[in-house]
């Protein structure tokens, strides 16, 4: 019998724990989660980029709804657990749900500390902890001009920078003499203050808050010295407290946090605690790296492996404010037994300080130039005696051993166990091994497979260097790849010039852009042909000799030179008449293999080229058109049965799929485009691995894009939610048209979107209505020339030379 695992809180720690748990013992537990926040697990760290507008909420989701379904997890969103009954082994939520557990994990995180001053509960006073806080701040930013952030620590400063990026007039009031005094020494704190002030953020240090003023809403903040700062929004970021109330009521041992041993057990053997609410070895933590370590260890113990044990490690702190580089680690207080090495470069705004004890690094503060952070961290962790390199240590790793090395050599010199990604505890060796084993080639690949650089992103530069080091010249994210050997120009440049110079034939392109060959090659000609088809609909005469054979004969060439034929079955729906027609064709032409494809339709394989027109004629009479199974164009729109039949269906997914397919078939695209429409989040049409997917929900249609499931596997990104079918169609068409106009030939949507940015696609096709309508219009125009069934054209004689031998030379004649 599966045991019951109940988790209270659905933050970053338990999310990670479940990943480990499912890896170790996928079926051992039936998991139930209660989360006071009404949502799935997201990357809390990235709230600051959401606040500043650099990211959207959808991009910081760690586990989407599908993940919970996939793992059979029951997630109670918006349920706060109010009681744990240890003798009955149950928990009860504020909505009245009671769930029994065999093992319980408490992961309630922290609560923001609210200053006990008058007015602290007025509307307009917020904390900074979750998405609701961010949304409330964004709302305030829209309508109000002035904000006060109380607290000049990491959270407060990120909030201040975010609000200022949203054009608010922001003042930070901070109790201590310098900013981030727990992570930065006064010198670095001063530099940080100057930088923030130069961006228009006002900072008042040594400022004690006395009250929040206002009648019905916050109107200002009064300091102890009598100063009053007007504000309509007051953000309290004065610290956090582990959230222990629930555990305390249940009689578990508590100090600052819920006490756990190094296997994450609380004082009750069936209850674990992880994350910010837990206290281990006298420490409570507020950064994810140690919490992720707790998650790993708890997963092991919960599945019966008691060997891993939690060990304390200092975690570096970085500030996620774009353009400010700051790194701090360990202990940096002065002391008689300590020495320090300091480097200042006022001009460049660089400050570096190393704190040494017995010739070993115990603390590091870097401001302005932080690339050596990982190296110093490594020296500290390994307790390396630095006597030998003392004179040059502060210049960083590149300067060890005389002549300055290039930064690559510095990364090359890092040992395999040097930590690259602090958030996820990923070391260099693991990244290198994964790049090699999985043949990764891009930063995103590395993020997907190792999690390195996938949380706060501040180690991105290092990860890129590891990539470059491992792949050599093969890794070159920035360089322009020429289209092919015939030119030095890249695809983007060629596309731009085609438009700018009004080039309307392949040979005009080759002439004007100084191609090196007389008529190109098999790489550039199909690409140019596509660009011209796309850019000059109705004007450009498609050059069939520049198309790959499949697109020339509208069938797929097979290994023995025969062809396969796949007619369209709109949305995967067929009928007795259609099936009968297919059966007749199969019999008549002796077609050796009939197969149901992975795209919800039927493939007839092994047809002789000469027979193709006759096969199409018969299929055409039954109403079939080409399925473009061969095309860099719209392939299939898979659907599920949807609300017509399915007890879970929320919308007519079949109908929408058919509508999309009928609207868009025949269009040529840079690479193939596959779509799917699922009637509910169970997603039976597998819409979340398609170029474009739709998940129907009660409130409308969730549009997904940029998925893949071929050479690469990639879940889709969410573009956004629309209310009606009409809107869904408009957005999808605009998205595909944007892709048609911008992508490089053979670049699938997911690669293109990664290159230009998910946000940019969303901005242009969802948010900017004017642009969306313009894209839509251009697509509709081009369809006038594209939506012609190529099969019936050929049945009526077009390109008949393709299907007939030029001559048959009989034996007698040849032997003459």
């Amino acid at each position: 019998m599966t045991e019951k695992l109940v988790i209270i809180g659905n933050g970053m720690a338990p999310g990670r724990m479940l990943e480990h748990l499912f890896e170790r013992a996928p079926d051992r537990y039936e998991v139930t989660i209660f989360n006071a926040e009404p949502r799935v697990n997201y990357d809390r760290i990235m709230l600051s980029p959401v606040l500043s507008g650099e990211k959207e909420y959808e991009q910081i989701i760690i586990h989407g709804d599908g993940w919970y379904i996939k793992h059979g997890i029951t997630l109670y969103k918006g349920h706060r657990i109010v009681a744990i009954d240890r003798s009955a082994k149950t928990v009860t939520s504020d909505q009245g749900v009671t769930a029994p557990y065999d093992k319980l994990v408490i992961a309630t995180g922290s609560v923001p500390f609210i200053l006990p001053v008058p007015g602290n509960n007025l509307p307009g006073v917020l904390s900074y902890r979750d998405l609701d806080d961010v949304n409330a701040m964004l709302l305030a930013a829209q309508s109000r001009a002035k904000a006060v952030v109380i607290g000049g620590g990491l959270l407060g400063l990120e909030a201040a920078a975010g609000l200022s990026a949203r054009d608010m007039d922001v003042t930070v009031v901070h109790l201590m003499p310098t900013l981030m005094e727990r992570q930065l020494d006064p010198a670095a704190g001063y530099m940080l203050q100057r930088e923030l002030e130069s961006r228009g953020i006002k900072i008042i240090t040594k400022a004690e808050t006395k009250a929040v003023l206002g009648d019905r809403r916050a109107e200002g903040v009064e300091l102890a010295d009598g100063r009053i700062i007007p504000a309509n929004l007051v953000v309290m970021a004065a610290g956090i407290r582990p959230s222990t109330g629930l555990a305390q009521d249940a009689g578990l041992a508590i100090q600052r946090g819920i006490l756990v041993d190094d296997g994450m057990h609380t004082s009750d053997p069936d209850i674990f605690a992880i994350g910010e609410c837990a206290e281990v070895g006298g420490h409570v933590y507020g950064l994810v790296a140690p919490l992720y370590e707790m998650a790993r260890i708890a997963a092991a113990h919960i599945t019966g492996d008691t060997s891993p044990r939690f060990v304390h490690n200092d975690t570096p702190t970085k500030l996620k404010v774009t353009g400010i580089d700051l790194f701090s680690l360990g202990d940096f207080a002065d002391g008689d037994d300590r020495q320090e090495i300091v480097l200042r470069d006022a001009e460049a705004g660089v400050y570096k300080r190393l704190i040494l004890k017995e010739n070993r690094i115990i603390g590091t503060v870097l401001y302005g130039e932080t690339s050596d952070g990982a190296w110093f961290n490594d020296l500290k962790k390994r307790e390396v005696d630095i006597t030998e390199m003392r004179d040059t240590l502060i210049f960083g790793q590149a300067y060890q051993g005389g002549a300055p090395l290039d930064p690559m050599a510095a990364v090359a010199a890092l040992p395999d166990d040097a930590e690259i990604c602090g958030c996820n505890g990923v070391c260099k060796g693991k990244i290198v091994d994964t790049i090699k084993a999985k043949r990764l080639s891009s930063l995103d690949d590395v993020r997907a497979h190792t999690k390195a650089s996938a949380s706060c992103g501040s180690c991105t530069g290092l990860v890129e260097q590891v990539l470059r080091l491992t792949l050599g010249d093969a890794y070159n994210p920035a360089a322009v790849q020429p289209m092919c050997g015939c030119t030095d120009l890249g695809h983007d440049e060629v596309r731009r010039l085609i438009k700018a110079k009004g080039l309307k034939t392949i040979y005009a392109v080759m002439q004007e852009l100084e191609w090196r060959t007389s008529c190109g090659c098999a790489k550039c000609r199909p690409a140019l042909n596509y660009y011209l088809v796309c850019d000059w609909p109705g004007e450009y005469a498609d050059d069939y000799q520049s198309r790959f054979i499949n697109e020339r004969v509208h069938a797929n060439i097979q290994k023995d030179g025969t062809y396969s034929v796949v007619p369209r079955m709109w949305g995967g729906v067929t009928s007795a008449t259609e099936l009968r027609a297919i059966a007749d064709v199969v019999d008549k032409f002796n077609i050796p293999t009939v197969k149901v494809t992975g795209g919800q339709r039927i493939d007839m394989l092994g047809i002789k080229k000469e027979d193709l027109p006759a096969v199409w004629a018969d299929l055409g009479r039954a109403g079939f058109v080409s399925g473009h199974a061969y095309a860099k164009g719209l392939r299939t729109v898979k659907t599920c049965v949807g609300s017509d039949w399915c007890r879970f269906g929320t919308q007519d997914s079949t109908g929408l799929g058919i509508r999309i397919e009928k609207f868009m078939w025949g269009s040529w695209t840079p690479a193939k485009v596959k779509m799917a429409v699922s009637g509910c989040p169970r997603n039976c049409a597998e819409a979340t691995c398609k170029d474009v997917g739709v998940i129907c929900v009660d409130s409308g249609f969730e549009i997904h894009f940029a998925g893949a499931a071929g050479l690469d596997i990639k879940g889709t990104e969410v573009l956004g939610l629309v209310k009606t079918e009409d809107e869904a169609l408009e957005v999808i068409v605009a998205l595909v048209q944007m892709y048609r106009e911008q992508a490089r030939y053979l670049e699938r949507i997911y690669k293109w979107a990664k290159r230009i940015g998910i946000d940019e696609v969303r901005r242009q096709t969802l948010e900017d209505a004017e642009r969306r309508i313009a894209y839509f219009g251009r697509f509709v125009h081009s369809q006038k020339f594209a939506q012609v069934d190529p099969w019936s054209e050929r049945v009526s004689g077009l390109h008949k030379h393709e299907f007939r031998p030029l001559a048959a030379v009989p034996l007698t004649q040849a032997a003459e």
Partner: protein, 109 residues
């Protein structure tokens, strides 16, 4: 050398090919962008792909199956690949096409 008439130049699209069926198998007749004509066996030296179905560029063709590039002039695979197909003499006179098959028939015999 015996020349067999097989059709006219205009039967083949520029940068395209047509096939002729012969007792020795299919032969692909190519017409380049500058109206030169070549004939080679329609059988890629790699895995037998139908070269007549490839994309013609300059005086070469890219095989449709795995993209080997074959020189129409010499029949040799270009680039890093190794292999060769038979070339067949072909000529154009007054817009008419002729191939010299018997030569090969004798050889084959």
């Amino acid at each position: 050398m015996h020349w067999t008439a097989i059709g006219t130049l205009s039967d083949i699209p520029q940068r395209g090919a047509r096939c002729i069926e012969t007792p020795e198998g299919k032969i692909a007749i190519f017409r380049t962008g500058d109206n030169r004509v070549f004939a080679i066996d329609d059988h890629c030296p790699h895995k037998g792909g139908p070269l007549s179905q490839g994309i013609v560029h300059g005086a070469s063709v890219t095989c449709p199956l795995h993209s080997w590039v074959i020189s129409l002039e010499t029949g040799k695979a270009l680039g890093a690949d190794e292999g060769c197909v038979r070339t067949i003499p072909v000529k154009v006179e007054d817009g008419k096409l002729y191939v010299a098959l018997n030569l090969n028939a004798e050889r084959a015999a």
